[in-house]
C-alpha cells in the first residue's frame, strides 16, 4: 500500500487526468535554453512533485488554495521560452503549466483591446489581430511565447515593433485578472473600478496595484487573464539603416532623432549582432561581421504617406549632418522587420533569432537601464573588458573587436534608454563557455564601475540560486507585501523571495 497523498488526491478531484506525479512528466519541466550554459545540470536534481494543467481561473484558484492549505510550493510557467530558468521548481511542489489556458477571450475592436489567457501566444493573438488590421508590441523572441509571460517580464520588442512610440510590451497592458496567493481573484486596471467593470485603461481605483505582478516572476500571484491595448497597422512603412564608424556620431544622430519623436522605432546596434542573425555558419558570420559597419542605427518609418515622406526627409538630413551613410532597405533581413511590424514575430524575425543561437550561441553579460548620456562610456567600458580578456580579446580565438555587440533601445519617446544589451558569442555546447562568460562579466562590471555605472548584471546561478540578491528599502517594503499575501512563501519560492 502506497502512502496516502492528500495533495494529489485533491488535485485529481479538480483536474482529473490533467494532473500527474509521474517522474517522466515532472522531469520535462526542469530546464530551459541556458540551463546547460549557466548550470551544471547534473547538480540540479529537484523536480516538481506534481504537474498540473488547469484550464480555467477557477481551477487555478483551487490549486492555489490546496497549495496554501498544505504549504506546498507553487512554480508556474506560461510558455518556458525563458532563457534564464525562471520556471524551474527549485523547491519542488506543484508545477502549473498554463498552456491549456489558451483562449483569446475577446477582441474589442471598438476599444482596440484584446483579452487573453496566459497560454495564448504572441503568434496566436497576432494572427487574429492582423485580420482586423491591428497589432500589439511584438518581442524579438520566438512568437511561440505567451503574451502574458512576455509582458510580465517587460516584453521587450527587440528589433521589431514600435518601441519608441508604444514602448515595452507591459505598457500596452490595460488590466489583468490575477489569483493571489490567498486565492483572492484580483482585477487591476479600470476593471478594478466596480462602476466601470471593463478593461480599457491601466489605472483603476487607488492605490493603484497595476504593477504588482511585473517582474515578480509569479511571487505575487498567477495572472489568469490579461487585456492589452492594440494599435492600428499603419498604411506606409519603411525601414532605414544608417551606418557609422564611431559611437559618438551614432549617439548624436540617435539623440537628435529620438528628441524629435520622429519615428515609431529606432535601435542602435553595435558590433556583430546582425551578422549573428543573418548567418548560419561561423565563416559567413565572420565575413559579414568584418564587412559591416561597426555602428548602425535601424529605424522604422511609419504612418501616412505624407508622414513617412517627412520622416525620411528629416532622417536624411540628420544622417548627413552626423556623418552617417544611409544603407537603403534592400537587404532581405528587413523582411523580418516588415513581418514583425505586421505582428508576426514568429516568422522570419524569429527564424533569425534562432539562427543566431544556432550558429554561435549568444549570451548577454549585462543589460542595464541607462540614461542616454552614459551610453558611449558604457560601450567603451565593455570594449575594454572584451579586449583584455584572454579568449575574447585574442584575435585568433575571439576576434574580439568583432564578436561583441550591444543594442541600445530607446523607449517611449527616447527620453530614457531601456536596455543596453551587451552580448558575446559563444558555443553553448562548449564547456569553456560558462567560465568565459563569468570571467567576462566580472571584467565588464569592473570597467563599468570605473565610469560610474553599476549594474548587478544578468549572470547568476539561475537554477540553484535566486534572481540575484535584491536589496535596499524597495525590496524590504516588497517583502512586507509578500509576507501579508503569502505568509508561507508558497508562490514561486526560491526566486525573488528565498
Amino acid at each position: 500500500m502506497g502512502e496516502k497523498d492528500p495533495v494529489y488526491e485533491e488535485l485529481v478531484n479538480i483536474l482529473g487526468d490533467r494532473v500527474s506525479k509521474d517522474p517522466e512528466i515532472r522531469w520535462t519541466y526542469t530546464r530551459d535554453l541556458e540551463g546547460p550554459l549557466t548550470t551544471d545540470l547534473k547538480r540540479l536534481r529537484r523536480l516538481p512533485d506534481y504537474v498540473v494543467l488547469p484550464e480555467t481561473t477557477e481551477e487555478v484558484q483551487k490549486i492555489v488554495l490546496i497549495a496554501r492549505n498544505y504549504k506546498v510550493p507553487i512554480t508556474l510557467e506560461s510558455t518556458r521560452i525563458s532563457v534564464k530558468g525562471l520556471a524551474v521548481a527549485i523547491r519542488g511542489g506543484i508545477f502549473i503549466d498554463l498552456r491549456r489556458m489558451n483562449r483569446i477571450l475577446e477582441i474589442d475592436e471598438e476599444n482596440m483591446t484584446a483579452t487573453v489567457q496566459p497560454g495564448v501566444t504572441i503568434a496566436q493573438l497576432s494572427c487574429e489581430l492582423q485580420k482586423r488590421n491591428m497589432l500589439i508590441p511584438v518581442p524579438g523572441t520566438p512568437a511561440t511565447v505567451s503574451v502574458v509571460s512576455n509582458y510580465l517580464g517587460c516584453g521587450w520588442p527587440g528589433g521589431k515593433a514600435r518601441m519608441l512610440s508604444i514602448g515595452l510590451g507591459y505598457r500596452s497592458v490595460v488590466g489583468v485578472e490575477m489569483v493571489l496567493p490567498d486565492g483572492t481573484i484580483l482585477n487591476t486596471g479600470s476593471k478594478s473600478d466596480v462602476f466601470i467593470g471593463k478593461d480599457f485603461w491601466p489605472h483603476g481605483m487607488g492605490p493603484d496595484l497595476f504593477l504588482l505582478p511585473y517582474k515578480a516572476y509569479g511571487a505575487f500571484g498567477i495572472i489568469t487573464k490579461m487585456t492589452v491595448k492594440c494599435t492600428p497597422i499603419e498604411k506606409e512603412l519603411k525601414v532605414f539603416w544608417i551606418a557609422y564608424d564611431n559611437i559618438d556620431s551614432a549617439m548624436e544622430a540617435h539623440n537628435r532623432i529620438v528628441r524629435l519623436d520622429l519615428v515609431p522605432n529606432l535601435h542602435l546596434y553595435a558590433g556583430d549582432k546582425y551578422a549573428g542573425y543573418a548567418n548560419d555558419t561561423l565563416e559567413s558570420h565572420d565575413r559579414m561581421n568584418r564587412a559591416q559597419p561597426e555602428f548602425q542605427i535601424i529605424l522604422t518609418l511609419a504612418g501616412t504617406k505624407r508622414q513617412v515622406e517627412y520622416q525620411e526627409k528629416v532622417i536624411r538630413k540628420i544622417a548627413k549632418e552626423t556623418g552617417g551613410r544611409i544603407i537603403v532597405d534592400k537587404l532581405p533581413i528587413y523582411q523580418s522587420f516588415i513581418d514583425s511590424h505586421l505582428g508576426m514575430a514568429g516568422s522570419f524575425g524569429a527564424v533569425w533569432s534562432m539562427r543566431y543561437y544556432t550558429s554561435r550561441g549568444g549570451s548577454w553579460t549585462s543589460t542595464p537601464t541607462l540614461p542616454v548620456d552614459k551610453i558611449p562610456d558604457n560601450w567603451k567600458a565593455f570594449s575594454r573588458a572584451i579586449l583584455k580578456d584572454p579568449d575574447y580579446g585574442d584575435p585568433n580565438f575571439g576576434r574580439g573587436e568583432f564578436w561583441r555587440s550591444i543594442i541600445v533601445y530607446p523607449v517611449e519617446g527616447g527620453h530614457y534608454v531601456w536596455g543596453v544589451e551587451k552580448g558575446v558569442d559563444l558555443f553553448i555546447q562548449d564547456p569553456k563557455c560558462r567560465e568565459m562568460l563569468l570571467r567576462l562579466h566580472k571584467a565588464n562590471l569592473e570597467e563599468q564601475a570605473k565610469v560610474g555605472i553599476s549594474d548587478p548584471g544578468f549572470i547568476k546561478d539561475w537554477y540553484t540560486g535566486s534572481l540575484g540578491k535584491p536589496f535596499g528599502v524597495h525590496f524590504e517594503v516588497s517583502k512586507k507585501f509578500k509576507k501579508t499575501l503569502d505568509p508561507d512563501n508558497v508562490m514561486q519560492p526560491g526566486y525573488i523571495y528565498p
Partner: protein, 400 residues
Amino acid sequence: MPIEFCWPMERRSLEDYYEMILRCAKCEFCKNVFISNTEHWQFAKQCPPGERFGFAAYYATGRIEIARGLLEGELKWTDKLLHILYTCTTCGACEHWCSIFREVYPLKIIMEMRIKAVKEVGPLPAHKRLMENIVKYHNPYGESHEQRFEWLPSTVKTSGESSLVYFAGCSSSYRQQQIARSTVNILSKLGVKFNVLGGEEWCCGAPLFEVGLVDEAKKTLEHNIKTLNKMKVEKVVFTCPACMYTFKEASKYEIEEPKFELQHITDFLLPKLEKIKMKGLNEKLTYHDPCRLGRGLGIYEQPRKILKLIPGLELVEMPRHMEDSWCCGGGGGVLAQYPDFALWTASQRLEEMKFVGVKKLVTSCPACKTTLSLAIPPRLRRAREIQVVDVMELLSKVIP
C-alpha cells in the same frame, strides 16, 4: 526540401545525441505550423500526442528531455515512459521545423530512444505481434503469404521482361487492395510494362524500423533489395510512401544497397498523365499530405498536379497542408498499439476537412487511407457522407 527524419543510424547511439539535446532552446517552433502561414489558429498545431495529452513530455521538447533523463541515469523505463515514447506518430513535423530553426533533430532522438527501448525492455505487445507476423508471414497482419497477390486482377498482364517493378507493400496487398488494383489498371491503360515480385515481395520493414526493431527490419528489407538487385530491375515504383522511404534509407543500415531507382507512383505517372486527356469529375475535394511522402520524401506537388489535371475537379486546401500537414495518426506503430489515440488524431483531420467544406479527402498512402477511414463515424461512412480515397482510385476512374 525533404528531410531525413526517420530511424536514423548515423550516430548509432543515443549517447551521441547528448550535446544536441542540450541545444534545444525550448522555442517550441516544433509545435506549430509555420507561423507566417497561420490564418486559422485552431488549425495551427502539429504534434498529435502533445495536443492530445497536454504535458510537455508528449511534445518534442519534452521527449528530448526524457532522452536527457535516460542518459543522465535519472529516468528508467516505465509504462508511462513507454507510453510517452510510443505515442509519437513519427510524423516528422517537429523534425522538419527544428531542422530549419535549430537543428536538434528531435525525431532522430526519439528513434534512438526506441532502439534503446527494444534492446533493454523489448517491444510493446502490439509491436511484438507485428514483428512475429512479419518474421513468420512477411506481413504485419499475420495474413497468409500465399494470398499476398490475390488482389492482382487476372486481366492485368505483368511482364517478366520489364525493368520496372511495382512494389505494392503490405497495406495495399491486404488492407487497401483497391489501391493496388487501381495502380496496375492505370499502368496497363497507359501501356506501361511492369512486373511485380509475387511471393518474393516481403514487408519492407517500415513498421519495425518505426518502433525501433531495427535488426528484424533490416532482414526483411534486405530480402527485397537482394531480390530486386538480382532481377536487375532499373526502377521500382511505390504507392506506399513508407515503403519507398524505407528503401531510400537502406544505405544507412550496412545492408545491400538498392541498385535501382526508387520513384513514387505520383511522380512516375505525372508526365504521362500530362500527355493524355482524362475524363471529367465534377467533385470538390481536399488533399491530405502523408507525412512520409511530404516531409519525408519532399513530394507535395505531384499529387496536386495530377488532381488538377482532372477536368472539373476542384481542389480545396485544408489550413494545414504540405509541410504544415497534420498527421493521420496511424504512423510510428501508434495505430497498432494505441488505436483510440490514432483515431482521435485522424478525427482532428476530418474536422479540418469539414472546416473547408468538402466531403471527400484524397491522399496518397494506403496507411493514411486506413486510419482516416476508420475515424469516419459509422453513420456517415454508411451514408457515404464522408469519403477517403487514394489518388490511384480516383485516377483509375478518369483514365480512358
